[in-house]
Symmetry: C2
């Protein structure tokens, strides 16, 4: 079972971290930061004075109103970038040029040229760049990969993943409603499935044929994608995410009922309010930020033993020569010739804790990074290929793929 044990060496020195963009993304990662003993939060930057104030008081940390100022703080060793998507590239480059290590949330950038610029800046400044915040960091997926690589079920032959979520109904800022700024399900949710499929399938995607869909007038961004992709070795994968929030994939697991963020009735009400313009999204969004009324309920005190439900990643089925693997409540169902085993997750960390460990291990212990800049860029390439395939109505061949790390 997942446990709260921190697998980073105890007694190691603390890594001093600054966070840029104290929005909803930050609300999600802050509890993991607090729980990681060898991470010390020393600074935060945001344009919003209220969140700066709450952050300063809660963490007894410096706060700044710009990324530049935070990166000029000599105390800060590494920067966690959870600003809006269009700032991921410029903020990463600002931090790198000031010698800070960087974890940048998904999607790492909006275009491949931005991603290239980030990788160059990291290389030039010899800083560690981690492309973070996808579910491929999670213990379920890492354990799944270990089983696949162990050969116990033979080679991996196919993977399919499908998510049906309420993502489109969650509160959005104006920039999140602009696809040219990285808004919508393909940019925002694609990386979860793509990163995971690439990790399981070895990383090297050959081609993508897919499409995006946008069909709710209340949201001017795509809320859907579906794609077929093929790895260089011929292994196929399909991926689907429908974020419109009618049917939810969590209904397909017995423990998934009533585990969604909104009830069915709430989702219908939100849709109506979005259509008639009466929904106060700014207020909703603010409630989810640090110190907001929803922060605690949504992101804090969640415990480690909550059962998995097929939310943003969805239901993933990895098919091997002699069996299938999929997620169970607290582990993995391994369907093999000897029966179905519910294999517990033995790794020490949740997905978010694992990102912090990867950062700590890279910066303090000089261990190799799994989610490198080139890895993140390859995931972004698949994500962009789905959108390009939708526009051109044809298969897109890929050219920026890199293999999955040998060891995990």
């Amino acid at each position: 079972m997942a446990s709260a044990t921190n697998t980073a060496p105890s007694g190691g020195r603390k890594l001093k971290l600054g966070i840029v963009g104290i929005g909803v993304g930050a609300s999600e990662i802050l509890p993991a930061m607090e729980a990681t003993a060898n991470i010390q939060m020393v600074a935060g930057a945001d344009v919003n004075p209220r969140v700066r104030d709450t952050f300063r008081k809660r963490y007894n940390a410096q706060t700044y109103d710009s990324v530049e100022k935070l990166c000029d703080d000599r105390e800060v060793e590494a920067v966690w970038i959870s600003t809006p998507n269009k700032f991921h590239a410029p903020h990463t480059i600002i931090a790198a040029n000031r010698g800070k290590h960087v974890v940048v949330e998904k999607p790492m950038a909006i275009s491949l040229s931005e991603a290239e610029g980030m990788i160059e800046a990291a290389d030039k400044n010899k800083i560690k760049l981690i492309c973070g915040h996808t579910q491929s960091f999670g213990p379920h997926i890492r354990t799944m990969r270990r089983i696949i690589r162990s050969g116990e079920l033979g080679r991996l032959c196919a993977v399919n993943v499908f998510a049906y979520t309420d993502w489109m109904l969650r509160p959005r800022t104006a920039e999140e409603l602009d696809v040219s700024q990285g808004g919508g399900v393909p940019y925002r949710q694609g990386p979860h499935q793509i990163d995971t499929l690439r990790l399981l399938g070895g990383g090297m995607v050959r081609s993508v044929r897919g499409t995006t869909g946008q069909w709710f007038r209340g949201r001017p961004i795509p809320g859907y994608y579906a794609a077929f992709m093929e790895f260089a070795d011929g292994t196929p994968a399909t991926l689907v995410h429908n974020g419109y929030g009618y049917f939810l994939a969590s209904e397909l697991v017995p423990w998934g009922t009533n585990r969604s963020r909104y009830t069915y009735e709430e989702r219908a009400a939100i849709r109506k309010q979005l259509l008639d313009g009466t929904r106060n999204e700014n207020e909703d969004k603010d409630a989810m930020r640090i110190g907001g009324a929803q922060e605690g309920q949504l992101f804090r005190n969640r415990g480690e033993r909550r059962p998995w439900v097929p939310n943003d990643l969805g239901i993933l089925i990895a098919s091997c020569e002699r069996g299938d693997i999929r997620q169970s409540q607290h582990g993995l169902y391994v369907h093999g010739d000897d029966g179905v085993k519910d294999v517990p997750i033995v790794e020490g960390s949740t997905s978010r804790r694992a990102e912090l460990e990867e950062l700590y291990n890279a910066v303090v212990l000089d261990r190799p990074i799994r989610h490198t800049g080139p890895w993140g860029m390859a995931t972004l390439e698949v994500c962009l290929a789905i959108m390009q395939s939708a526009k051109k109505r044809k298969e897109i061949m890929l050219s920026h793929q890199v293999p999955a790390p040998e060891e995990d």
Copy 2:
């Protein structure tokens, strides 16, 4: 709810039917034929003397050892062709040339040129040709299509369907284990999903990108396919069928447990026997034929009220602008803005009964056929395109598509 009512006019004259190929496929359709009052089974042909004998006694009908002889029987008006796949085209042409109407089971043929020959023979001889036996005939799917076409949920935006079954473990004859004779999951199971998707999506598929997979040494035929297809109007669909029988999609509905043909242990035992050559498939197969020990349990006295489980079609989710539709135990879940409704199936007939009605209505009442030769050929084209896409590793553009019938 499904009911046993026959929607064909009562009191109409009886249609005299002959069946060619009294194998397992016939075992599946015979109960529906018996239950259809205005169908009279007058003849059967098979190379196997035991099944001929049982058939003759059960139905008090003529039997023949060849399709030619059955088609020379002037009593026979229409022929049901359930011979092995490689005979579908020649047997259809033999029947057509003798002036018999034809229902041919899926796949209608092994190649497009065969399908063209069948359509030509039907046209030349002015006989009715129905491409039968896919789940698109089923009342769930017809009801789903009606809801989509009613516009109640807005336009259809995307469809996804995935099946995980034990198909590869069911008994097979030698010819069923030869892909050049139409063996394997793509040929045999593809038509269920493809016909259904085409019916829901309007019929006109623009392109297909997919692959097939073959990874169990005990079966020299593909047991897997996955594909992305796009309709001419841009609507996307994905389809997956994994027939290797580890994880089953029926596990994803609460009423699906223990509803599979074999238990998990039986499936493991069959796999082992197939690998070490100790499984007596001929015996298993014979038990499923007419008069065999398994016939009753598998195909007869099944009643009309058995709950649906995601077997060969799989779990299908049709997404519209304002809701999703999927199958429920006895109807359809319609997830709309007013909540989730479990809509009962109001059509009168099960899938197999509907095929017989389509035949009766076409031959006796001169009503239009929905599953025409060109319709079946278009479904076969998609099926072949998945296999071609697998070989060429590229997207296949289609050129033989026809629209779905206006009324259903």
